[in-house]
């Protein structure tokens, strides 16, 4: 189907599909959540709050793990970028 369209739409398509790389979206989610939770972990670490989660600063640790996972997805997306023609070959 795409071969009937003008050539320049392919460029638009690949640009939007790069933006639409799911790995980027997952990375954004984890990085934003990770940073917010890490900050929350540093700000609110009174003994009463720590006791709630059994003495672990769960906000801080979850935040750090999420930042690492987010960074992992960024690295994956950068190292192995999407190849837009894959979808067209299938058709």
């Amino acid at each position: 189907m795409s071969d009937k369209e003008p050539v320049d739409t392919d460029a638009v398509r690949s640009a939007s599909s790069a933006l639409f790389d799911l790995r980027t979206v997952i990375a954004i989610l984890f990085l934003v959540y990770g940073v917010v939770l890490t900050v929350m972990g540093f700000v609110s670490d009174t003994p009463a709050e720590l006791a709630k989660s059994g003495g672990i600063d769960i906000n801080l640790w979850s935040g750090i793990v999420m930042i690492v996972i987010g960074a992992g997805f960024v690295a994956w997306a950068l190292l192995r970028p999407l190849k837009p023609p894959v979808a067209d070959e299938a058709e």
């Binding site: 189907m1 939007s16 917010v36 709630k52 906000n59 979850s62 894959v86």
Partner: protein, 560 residues
């Protein structure tokens, strides 16, 4: 009841709502961006068959990580303990591997766009229509159940009225599926998978820390049960099956849960199979359910365990387990009560986003599979054939809107049933068990005829409905859980018996029309797939992956 409502409200602050809002922005953003890549009905309804296996695999798990799964299984964990892992290890993983290795070559290889379309190829148009209509009805009913439970959570946690919460939830699901079609639904399912893990993993870690680790949890459960350790061992699971005899209980789990119910659900439910059909090639399609089996095998660690923690940590649930007054609280509240008990603000917002995501996952899966079946199987192949692709794309979008509106109605219908789990298990025994029967027979017995296909389906469904009615009016003295198992077994047996009898007196299809649709007439090469380029390597072999995951569940069974 008023008191119970107040107990259930989460201690949320502004930062929690910011995190929830951010998630919804991403979800709707995916819908908007996905719209740009939708240019044909195949794009909209099957994602143009272009998705990589890790995406379809995670969507496959996520489509099943809906409301009932998360809330229901943590509730079961609180009530029954470790035996609940059977639902995952014997009740899901083997069927998922079977789907990938044995059945996917036929599904994907036939180029069928849906389960009903496959039935038309193997049997005839009547079978396609019977299955298409029943599937459409079942999808709307089950979408309604998901929507209703989502509304219940919003009502309890945020204080919204059901009449506000249900339409708003439907509107969000509608917005992203109508914009981006299946791609948006699948991409969001993958995102949901990660948010749900971001809810479950910290909840499990913090919960275990509060009860003194795994050993502390075991001690507390043993103490609460007055020295009885049944809740800490997976076998024989007598409390779960309600079968007193241990041997019969094991047989019930292996054959009832492990064979009839689980194979029926995982191998023929189009909401699941559709995720694999949208993979980019045969190799990715076969790997989809097997990749999904890995997280499926591990999810109980973060669903059943927090349930068990709630059973000893949350005062209301502890009281409920001890048989005392719990003030209107049920096991279904375990997950949210534990969230409130152990998670600080910040993570609570992430958890709330994860919970909402899980409810929407189930409904989006129902709606997106409904519009594929309605558009292709009922509208294009039956009612209005021969129009342009653009026309069917419009129909697909319209069906999404209508489906969401009907689901709102079905949500209030589901609310009128006292026990939602019973309702949904009865639906599965009506629709999935007979379908699995004729599928397996049709796959391995080429003599089975087209007429036998739809008569077997109808007879199996009638058998399941009869058992359900007999159980309800107490002619059969069975618990509701055992009732749906017997119903599923009856549907399977009657379906096969009628199909065999009808095949004997009707004309089979010529062999030439069955190539690629039955086992014996499909050359081995065409059941295989390419193993070069992006599909090379032992770690991309469906059989190798399947063996690894089966070994994994055997090892897990040795642990507990």
């Amino acid at each position: 009841m008023l008191l119970a409502q107040a107990d259930l409200r989460l201690n949320t602050t502004a930062i929690d709502y910011v995190l929830v809002a951010f998630y919804f922005v991403l979800v709707l953003g995916i819908g908007v961006v996905a719209r740009r890549s939708v240019s044909s009905s195949l794009d909209f309804l099957l994602s143009g068959r272009s998705l990589p296996a890790w995406v379809t695999g995670l969507a496959f798990v996520s489509a099943n990580l809906g409301a009932l799964e998360l809330v229901g299984m943590s509730a079961n964990g609180a009530q029954y303990g470790i035996p609940v892992v059977h639902y995952y290890w014997i009740g899901a993983v083997p069927a998922m591997v079977f789907l990938g290795i044995v059945m996917m070559p036929f599904y994907y290889g036939s180029k069928a766009r849906s389960v009903p379309e496959f039935l038309r190829m193997r049997f005839n148009a009547t079978t396609q229509r019977v299955n298409g209509v029943t599937f459409a009805i079942a999808s709307v009913l089950i979408a309604g159940v998901n929507l209703f439970t989502l509304g219940l959570v919003l009502e309890a946690l945020l204080g919204w009225s059901l009449y506000v919460a249900i339409p708003i939830a439907a509107l969000v699901v509608l917005a992203y599926t109508v914009l981006g079609g299946l791609s948006a639904a699948i991409y969001n399912e993958v995102l949901q998978f990660f948010v749900i893990l971001a809810l479950l993993v910290p909840l499990t870690v913090a919960g275990l820390a509060r009860v003194g680790g795994w050993d502390g949890l075991k001690q507390k459960i043993t103490a609460a049960a007055a020295g009885n350790t049944d809740q800490l061992h997976s076998w024989p699971g007598t409390s779960l099956t309600e079968i007193a005899n241990p041997t019969l209980s094991v047989i019930g789990i292996v054959f009832g849960l492990g064979f009839v119910l689980s194979f029926g659900y995982w191998t023929t439910n189009f909401a699941e199979v559709q995720r694999a059909l949208s993979a980019r090639n045969m190799s990715a399609a076969r790997r989809t359910p097997i990749i999904a089996a890995f997280p499926k095998a591990l999810i109980p660690l973060v669903v059943v365990v927090p349930g068990m923690v709630a059973g000893v940590l949350v005062p209301q649930i502890t009281a409920l387990k001890a048989g005392g007054d719990s003030g209107g609280i049920t096991y279904n509240n375990s997950l949210t009560l534990l969230m409130n008990e152990v998670l600080p603000n910040g993570l609570l917002g992430v958890a709330l986003a994860g919970l909402l995501a899980s409810f929407m996952a189930g409904m989006a899966a129902n709606v997106s599979s409904l519009n594929t079946v309605f558009t292709y199987d009922l509208w294009q192949d039956w009612i209005r054939p021969g129009r342009s692709d653009r026309y069917y794309l419009q129909v697909g979008r319209l069906v999404t809107v209508v489906g969401c509106i009907l689901a709102i109605g079905a949500a209030f219908l589901a609310g009128s049933y006292s026990n939602i789990t019973d309702y949904i298990q009865a639906l599965f025994s009506f629709f999935n068990a007979p379908l699995f029967a004729i599928f397996i027979l049709g796959l391995f017995w080429k003599r089975m005829t087209g007429t036998a296909g739809w008569t077997g389906l109808v007879a199996g469904t009638i058998a399941a409905v009869v058992i359900d009615v007999l159980t309800r009016v107490n002619v059969l003295e069975l618990s509701s859980q055992a009732g749906s198992f017997v119903g599923a077994a009856a549907a399977f047996v009657v379906g096969v018996a009628v199909a065999v009898a009808v095949s004997m007196v009707t004309q089979p299809k010529p062999d030439s029309e069955l190539v690629g649709l039955t086992w014996s007439l499909t050359p081995k090469e065409s059941r295989e797939h390419t193993t070069t380029g992006e599909d090379a390597g032992w770690f991309r072999s469906p059989v190798t992956l399947g063996v690894i995951v089966i070994v994994l569940i055997i090892v897990l069974y040795f642990v507990v």
